[in-house]
């Protein structure tokens, strides 16, 4: 019978074609109703997505399931009758029948909770987790209501510190494997593990090796009980006392989403928020624990004016008046070119925009720059930009970058995952082995200055060429070495881009709002000087007024000698800062700024994603947000920027800055993950110093200076929990080079460059490339920036015994 025969004759009916079946949709029955789940989705996740919460402890959406706690057991019928199934271990299958409310399921849930509570100590009154504790909550919602356990509970010495930041209480631990799985699967630092067996099982670290992972704070957040507690938060508050708002961390340019918890106007902790495009709920320890910086006693709280060599507290009016007078004097003496404004990458977009208007429009100087010479040139932003998700799903990830684990830790986590799951192959070019080296498909070391040749050689390798030919390539590009200019790396980058058309670049800017500041206007005007140019001009006596907007050239600019001469050479200095740093302490006027958490605004991460930051606590003392300071200074100079509140600045950016059109207060409210701002094409290019690196002679070592996770940066140094964590200045040499140089691990040596000599202890380090000397930047101890000549393409050093 064909469908052309008409209607109701015997045996024939019109045939309607069946609707196409989507192979990715699986129909299952959940508590009596049919739901559409996704192929491969775990039962527990499918249920949650459809509004049915199945209790669980060991299951975590961002880690592999282990099915250990047995709390998620429900009756699942796949055709052989209802079976007790751990729903976190089983994916949905067609025609599956799931019952989360059956009597047997309820009995199992009660039973498991009773067993968990059997050995769990009665610590609730003194346990940090109380009030936000999954064990408490599930005992209340699914538990037996009464304990019948009358035996002696398990006892351990408690708590024990397993690292500088985390305490472990083994009695509370329910052995859910979340912390161990996180350390192993997500962070790659398997420093915490189970020991012993059965009822004696406990969490332990290796002997003499604390849990000093850069991500240890995440285990505190994911622990379902109070077994892991964070030292900076212990006993500080109860969850119901906390006011909470979502914000964005600005400790580095990744811009992880966080919530800020505060009580009685004091920030008490940050927690990671699961943002699918950015951080997946994880935070690094530096970003998580540097909240203490905001409430440090060393904050600058009042405007300061230098009189007779001393800084004296004054009112805002007096300070702004004095600053305006300095600027007017400078303009009269040398024109607007005699004024320079550097900084702005540590604030919000609104701060940077107001300052850029003040600098370009009101003062009229072209010498404006937000980079501190320790990062990337602005025109990197003109390249086709990748998002973090695109990088983490690329076929090939090329790294021409610093050690991401030290500088952009959560980006390291995202890329590590891509390599571990065999989604992406990492091709790494580096002057020193990094945290991603062991996950790389190929890791190619290059001596500073030789990256163009090395990249060219590598591109000639047929396996590499074949890999790149597969397409979908993302290059993560950053400043791997502060002791060399960025020129050679940029040239190498362009070789890569030419070899693999369609490649996108993820720029590894470091400072929190580098991209935002550059995008909204903190960059040079026509003929203007960048930071290195400004410092050189100041050293030459050509800068009459230097304005530092949250900038600390003495600590951040690679060439410390030039920074020092520049600061000394500028006739007058105005500093906007949160602390009296080495640079701001020398200023003639210090304008106290609000810190993170004290002001509303937006920030832009390295993808160009704009997200909000919130004011959770009142500004300390008499501090003001940077944009308000800029407005006040403009007023004192006779101009009205026209901002009554921060939202008006946000609106002004949306109107005037190309790419920011959607970034309104409403737009951000509707998009908690932030809004991507397109590639900027109107960025003024910065001239790169030409010149090739000279050949290294056989006595010298090529200097590589990289950043470390913990250094003397303001956020770390003023947070008591983190301040002692930087390892200290040292010179790291490959063990074979140690022998060649004639020294040994731990010995102090003279390190001599063309600029200066610094005495440093030696560290034997097999991750250092032969022929190079590696040093950490801005660590406690002698300042390695003295060795750098920032105009030289590379810097060489010679090691001499004392």
């Amino acid at each position: 019978m064909t469908s052309t025969e008409s209607g109701t004759e015997s045996g024939t009916e019109p045939v309607t074609p069946a609707p196409p079946v989507d192979p990715n949709v699986v129909s299952v029955t959940l508590n009596g109703r049919v739901i559409e789940a996704t192929k491969g989705e775990l039962v527990i996740a499918a249920a949650e997505r459809h509004g049915v919460y199945i209790p669980r402890f060991c299951y975590h959406e961002r880690m592999n399931s282990v099915g250990m706690c047995r709390m998620c057991i429900c009756e699942v019928d796949t055709g052989r009758g209802p079976q007790l199934t751990p729903t976190c271990m089983v994916a949905v299958a067609p025609n599956m029948v799931i019952d989360t409310e059956s009597e047997m399921t309820k009995n199992v849930q009660q039973g498991i909770l009773e067993l968990l509570l059997a050995n769990h100590p009665l610590d609730c009154p003194i346990c940090d987790k109380g009030g936000e504790c999954p064990l408490q909550d599930q005992a209340f919602s699914h538990g037996p209501g009464e304990s019948r356990y009358i035996e002696e509970k398990r006892h351990f010495e408690k708590p024990i510190p397993i690292s500088d930041l985390v305490y472990l209480d083994r009695e509370r631990c329910i052995l859910c494997d979340r912390c161990t799985r996180f350390a192993d699967e997500v962070a790659g630092d398997a420093l915490i593990s189970f020991t012993h067996r059965g009822n004696e099982t406990q969490i332990a670290t290796f002997p003499d090796e604390p849990f000093s992972s850069y991500f240890s704070g995440n285990t505190v957040q994911i622990c379902p009980v109070g077994a892991l507690t964070a030292k900076p938060y212990r006993f500080k508050a109860r969850p119901w006392d906390l006011a909470q708002q979502e914000s964005t961390c600005t400790s580095c340019a990744v811009g992880c989403r966080i919530v800020i918890d505060s009580s009685r106007d004091e920030v008490l902790r940050y927690m990671g928020v699961d943002s699918e495009p950015v951080n997946h709920g994880w935070l690094c320890d530096r970003g998580r624990f540097n909240f203490e910086s905001t409430k440090s006693d060393d904050r600058v709280l009042q405007p300061l004016l230098r009189e007779h060599g001393e800084l004296r507290e004054v009112s805002w009016n007096e300070a702004l008046g004095a600053a305006a007078a300095i600027i007017k004097e400078a303009k009269t003496a040398g024109g607007a070119d005699g004024v320079a404004v550097i900084g702005g990458a540590r604030g919000t977009n609104e701060d940077a925009y107001a300052w850029s208007r003040l600098a370009h429009e009101v003062i009229g100087t072209p010498n404006v720059y937000s980079q501190m010479g320790d990062g990337l040139p602005a025109d990197i932003l003109r390249l086709d930009r990748a998002t973090i998700n695109e990088a983490a799903h690329a076929t090939t990830i090329v790294l021409l970058a610093p050690d991401l684990k030290e500088e952009l830790p959560v980006l390291y986590l995202r890329l590590r995952e891509a390599a571990e799951k065999k989604r992406s192959r990492i091709l790494e070019f580096t002057p020193k082995q990094t945290g991603l080296t062991r996950y790389a498909w190929r890791s190619i070391g290059y001596e500073p200055g030789s990256q163009v040749a090395v990249v060219n050689d590598t591109l000639g390798d047929k396996d590499v060429a074949a890999q790149l030919a597969k397409g979908n390539v993302v290059v993560v590009f950053g400043r791997a070495n502060l002791a060399e200019t960025i020129t050679a790396s940029v040239q190498a980058l362009h070789q890569l881009l030419a070899a693999a058309p369609g490649t996108k670049v993820l720029p590894a800017f470091r400072r929190g709002n580098s991209v935002g500041a550059l995008s909204v206007g903190m960059r040079t005007g026509a003929g203007g000087l960048d930071t290195r140019g400004v410092l050189q001009a100041a050293a030459d006596g050509k800068i009459d007024c230097l304005v530092l907007v949250g900038a600390d050239p003495l600590a951040d600019f690679p060439d410390t000698d030039l920074a020092r001469r520049g600061l000394a050479g500028a006739r007058r200095t105005i500093a906007v800062d949160t602390f009296l740093t080495g640079s701001s302490a020398r200023a003639d006027v210090v304008l106290p700024a609000c810190a993170f958490g004290e002001k509303d605004g937006t920030t832009t991460n390295l993808e160009g994603r704009v997200s909000n930051v919130v004011r959770q606590v009142s500004p300390a003392g008499n501090t003001r947000p940077d944009w308000m300071i800029a407005s006040g200074l403009a007023m004192a100079l006779g101009s009205d920027l026209g901002y009554a509140n921060v939202n008006e600045v946000t609106l002004d950016i949306a109107i005037n800055v190309p790419g920011f059109e959607q970034v309104t207060v409403d737009g951000l409210a509707a998009n908690a993950d932030g809004l991507l701002v397109g590639t900027q094409t109107a960025i003024w290019p910065v001239t790169l110093l030409e010149g090739t690196a000279p050949e290294r002679n056989s006595y010298d070592l090529r200097l590589v200076i990289g950043r470390t996770m913990y250094d003397q940066g303001v956020g770390t140094a003023t947070s008591p929990s983190l301040a002692h964590l930087p390892r200290g200045s040292a010179v790291h040499l490959h063990p074979l080079d140690l022998a060649r140089v004639g020294t040994a691990d731990g010995v102090e040596v003279k390190v001599r460059s063309a600029r200066a000599t610094v005495v440093l202890p030696v560290v034997a380090d097999a991750s250092v490339l032969r022929g190079t000397a590696w040093m950490p930047w801005n660590n406690p101890g002698p300042n390695v920036g003295e060795l750098i000549d920032c105009f030289s393409a590379i810097n060489d050093v010679r090691i001499e015994n004392l």
Binding site: V66, G67, M68, C69, R70, M71, I73, Q83, L84, M104, N107, V108, G111, I112, E114, L115, L116, A118, N119, R148, Y149, I150, E151, E152, I174, L175, D177, F194, H196, R197, G198, N199, E200, T201
Partner: protein
């Protein structure tokens, strides 16, 4: 902490993705015979559901403990325990109290089940299993609570610690059994044992029939909330012992005298 087994047949893809198989000596011992004879010869011995012979290790209160080769489906437990060519009866002429037919994790049998042959389906229906083929014989002198404690303690100690019911439940069972065996048991302990057992193995749990107690057999299989069988094994001996020999446990429970409290006297003071 053991790893999760990959979801493939271990002999094809097992540890580190390589074929993995562990065989015991009994299995390997059968191979030369099978290779020199034929499958037909092998299946001619025994029954359709339990072909061939089996090595059973008998321990406990028999005159002649040891390892014996029996014919599947034909040899009965009575043959094994009392037969001249096998164990030759209970030691010292004692009466049989109970025996474990298939290793420490099998539910117990009573003299009622002696006439069962070594046949998987029949033994399963009768409330136990052939298991590892280790038969443990207990005579009238056995302290049943202590015997059950020994088995439960073993499995609780062997627990890997991964899943909650076994790690916590088995140890809790052990603690209660310790108190019971030592004579410090309480009124609620026996019910508590069954409650814990319900968390490890919800639903009816296999046990043998008993003419003396007038109870029917509860057949295999059981449900479990654990990842593997160690948890239920810790419970098995407890369940069998308390179900079949409850009076021995009750005798060990301390009956405490209750001190009456008069509420009325306090009210009168107002």
């Amino acid at each position: 902490m053991p790893r999760l087994k990959p979801p493939y047949f271990p002999a094809a893809i097992g540890l580190y993705g390589k074929p993995t198989i562990v065989n015991n000596v009994e299995t390997l011992a059968n191979l030369p015979w099978l290779l020199t004879h034929s499958a037909a010869d092998y299946t001619a011995i025994g029954t359709a559901t339990s072909p061939g012979t089996r090595m059973v290790a008998v321990s406990g209160h028999v005159k002649r403990p040891g390892v014996f080769e029996i014919v599947n489906g034909t040899t009965t437990f009575r043959d094994l325990l009392y037969g001249d060519e096998f164990c030759q009866g209970i030691r010292n002429g004692n009466e049989l109290k109970a025996f474990v037919p298939g290793g420490g994790s099998a539910p117990w049998f009573l003299p009622d089940q002696l006439d069962l042959p070594f046949e998987a389906k029949l033994v399963g229906a009768a409330g136990s299993m052939l298991g590892s083929g280790a038969v443990i014989v207990m005579d009238e002198t056995t302290d049943i609570p202590r015997a059950a404690l020994t088995l439960t303690r073993f499995y609780a100690h062997e627990s890997c610690g991964k899943c909650v019911p076994c790690r916590e439940g088995a140890t809790w069972l052990e603690r209660i059994m310790e108190r019971l065996a030592d004579g410090h048991g309480t009124e609620t302990d026996l019910e508590q044992l069954f409650e814990i057992g319900q968390t490890i193995c919800p639903g009816p749990f296999p046990h043998a029939a008993s003419g003396r107690l007038g109870i029917e057999a509860a057949p295999f299989p059981f449900k479990m909330t654990t990842i593997c069988y160690v948890g239920p094994s810790a419970y098995t001996s407890v369940h069998s012992a308390v179900t079949l020999f409850r009076s021995e446990f009750e005798a060990k429970i301390v009956k405490r005298k209750l001190i009456p409290v008069s509420v009325g006297a306090i009210d009168d003071q107002h």
